[in-house]
Symmetry: C2
Subunit: 137 residues, 2 copies
Amino acid sequence: MMSTIHSPQSTYSISDLSKEFDITTRSIRFYEDQGLIKPKRRGQTRIYSLKDRVRLKLILRGKRLGFSLAETRRLFELYDADKSSSTQLQTMLDLVNEKKTALQQQMDDIKVVLMELNSAEQQCKAALADNLLKKKS
Amino acid sequence: MMSTIHSPQSTYSISDLSKEFDITTRSIRFYEDQGLIKPKRRGQTRIYSLKDRVRLKLILRGKRLGFSLAETRRLFELYDADKSSSTQLQTMLDLVNEKKTALQQQMDDIKVVLMELNSAEQQCKAALADNLLKKKS
DNA sequence: CACAAACTTTACCTTTACGTAAACTTCATA
DNA sequence: TATGAAGTTTACGTAAAGGTAAAGTTTGTG
């Protein structure tokens, strides 16, 4: 089941993906269970497409940003949704704006925390230097 | 127990804080349980100091950034730790750098997602406009 | 004094995101 | 052919972060 080619592959086994993204096969099956990916089957073996791979990447990025699987699925659903339904589009616009606001807030938070971490780093280094001096005297 | 003064207060009741930060008293007590804050007591009633309030704010910001309560506690512990212990300081430096790296990565993630969301927004708007045109014709 | 509002502890319940184990099938290869 | 690697389903377990309910105390105010 393991594939060896590494360049522009168009299907993947579950272990291909689990290795590439360093997650367990259990997680990948769980995401399927939750409706986030829908691999084809050959017999009962799962065959993952490029689209599935992209989605996995998006799922993991979402997780790093604190999105729940349900939120990510919702985004996928809207993205796939009927483009001729104006109410669907409006729902999507609303959700997109909500996410944008949240992410802006998160960016601001991160900037503040990064500054504080830098300050903490400086204090640590100063204290370390100070300790050294006192040992010498 | 409710305090009415709003400017430079130096102690707070649990409901003061729960209102200010819009969290339940249950959560606040839970954070104490997990060793993140240590309010004084008057009788069995909790009295929160300015320091406790600051910590609450830090806990919540940590949560927004995906820090677990255990991680946040670890940072608090190190921050309070013995400044003359060079190994403690080194541990802190390591942790700080780890966090910095993670947050940088998160920033990059956010920037990418924001761009994608903006693109999605444009596509939505275009599709909506298109729908309108087709209705008219 | 009584009674309501705010506080307390204890303890069990819930959701999310998997981990872990059991028991089974498929397939390549020695 | 048998054995081992990779795959599958089913099902129960777990940790984190609280929610919720019960049952009791404290306090201040009419």
